[in-house]
Symmetry: C2
Subunit: 135 residues, 2 copies
Amino acid sequence: MIKDIELLKEKGLKVTPQRIAIVDLLKSYGHLSISKMYELIKEKFPSISLATIYKNLNAMVDNGFVNEVKIIGQDSRYELAKASHSHVVCKECGVMEDIMLDDSDIKDEAKKLSKFDIQSSSITFYGICQKCATS
Amino acid sequence: MIKDIELLKEKGLKVTPQRIAIVDLLKSYGHLSISKMYELIKEKFPSISLATIYKNLNAMVDNGFVNEVKIIGQDSRYELAKASHSHVVCKECGVMEDIMLDDSDIKDEAKKLSKFDIQSSSITFYGICQKCATS
DNA sequence: CTGGGTGCAAAGTATTTGCATGAAC
DNA sequence: GTTCATGCAAATACTTTGCACCCAG
């Protein structure tokens, strides 16, 4: 917790109760859409404004503190920035999981093929989770 | 051309001049955002409605005839569905290129790690294209 | 104190919908 | 002739902005 607060400060963002709540939610849920975040945060801050969430998430993204993950067929999710990783999304229930996989080979291949100076990647798999597969 | 028309028919979509124009544009440009598509298509159909583009792209996506590609920091692009491939996007000028890379290893790894029945993947790299790098 | 953050309401933008007309089959 | 597509306008959804007030530093 204290670490997050320090990080916010380092980025020049003031530490407000609303921001702490946003960070805490991202920590416990991993990834959240804006509407889900709004819904959850209102349990603690009934009077919070959607605009506050937009402004804060945008500020955190601009500071590299949070990442947006775009998904086909669903709202974007937001997550705390951390070691590069990939995602798996269930087409049925929408659940999203992080997976750590080594993308260095594929990234090298992409560099060769495209001649781009590649800086980052976004890798997302879509399928059916075990829970949905067995019900 | 005739092939596309047949494909539209097979999907149960009537072949209208507007739809042919959409498909032709996607063919020549590879990937287009909605607003770019609107801009280009108005050269041929000054009276076309944005709603027509939305409705048609949505219908084509629903039929698996067109795919949406989501990109961080830019509007989604649409492309004709074709063999699975990946994308490279320039953070500077926004240009997008297709690359064919073998993602079977990484996909197997994702299956193992996630226990999902993985059906498709979305792989996009971000960086700087050669043109922007040298200017 | 002082500057930035919050919440509200309003403005802006993006996307979808309903419907009368018109075109494809 | 029937069915579906088009284009317009209206409705809805999503996101940003302006501003008065408030709180963190």
